[in-house]
């Protein structure tokens, strides 16, 4: 099991690869929501044009931009995944307002995935990745795998495996991400 923790300063920074110019956003001024969205989109477009950058969200996940993203890679043939779904439902209930949980399915045959979902219902969104492109992109090291991304797509946390005894650690990683990396919504605190 690997836990990769990227340490970042509390203010949001977009720090693409070193060859691209660094863009710093200043947070301490009032912005309307639409300007905030436009600015994020512009920044993401710039970031997307930067070479080999893992901070940009890949196409299937772009709809989830703007929130802390908890991605869980699962498959119908993965036993621990069956155990992790009830826990993910609990996390969805607890943190759903601030956290987006997306379960990425890697079955080559999506019908098997749907059969699994009928036995283990999910309160969160499911994205299908039968060719494994998303799994490859995030260098998934085991099954199941969890990746937590910041609102701009930065990797905050990653681990593989699901153990009952470690759900405390998993929840702590969620809290840590929410506490330190929740995107500014436009209201001066």
């Amino acid at each position: 099991m690997q836990i990769l923790f990227t340490k970042m300063k509390p203010h949001i920074r977009l720090t693409p690869s070193t060859s691209a110019p660094a863009i710093h956003t200043v947070l301490q001024f009032r912005r309307t929501r639409s300007i905030n969205f436009a600015l994020s989109l512009a920044l993401m477009l710039v970031a997307a044009s930067a070479p080999a950058d893992n901070a940009a969200l890949p196409a299937p996940l772009k709809t989830y931009a703007g929130k802390i993203l908890y991605i869980d890679f699962w498959a119908s043939w993965c036993g621990p995944c069956a155990q992790s779904f009830p826990w993910l439902n609990q996390m969805q209930a607890k943190f759903g307002d601030r956290l987006t949980i997306v379960a990425v399915n890697v079955d080559t045959d999506t019908a098997s995935a749907k059969a699994f979902l009928s036995r283990h219902p999910a309160a969160f969104d499911v994205v299908y990745d039968p060719t494994g492109k998303l799994a490859e992109r995030y260098h998934i090291d085991g099954m199941p795998s969890t990746v937590i991304l910041a609102a701009d797509g930065h990797l905050l946390h990653q681990h593989s495996g699901f153990y009952d005894a470690k759900t405390g650690d998993y929840e702590a990683a969620i809290r840590n991400a929410l506490q330190n990396f929740t995107p500014f919504t436009g209201n001066v605190p």
Partner: protein, 72 residues
């Protein structure tokens, strides 16, 4: 008896070095199948072991571990 184990280990190490044989963790759907396990019928293997041990001079060889979904 001269052990053939060392060449076997080298062969396997060489095989594992070839990226074409290794699979990614998300590509193990078929390996996870019950009928793709090295001992897919444990009860029947147990019966076989017992019958052949009683009727033949040779025994042993079968192992354990490996394959499967690779989860956790």
């Amino acid at each position: 008896m001269k052990l053939g184990l060392i060449p076997i280990l080298f062969l396997t190490a060489a095989l594992s070095a070839c990226s074409s044989v290794a699979v990614k963790p998300w590509q193990r759907g078929i390996l996870a199948r019950a009928d793709m396990q090295l001992d897919a019928h444990p009860i029947q293997s147990q019966f076989d072991d017992h019958i052949y041990f009683s009727k033949e001079a040779a025994s042993g060889g079968r192992g354990f571990g490996g394959g499967g979904c690779g989860c956790n």
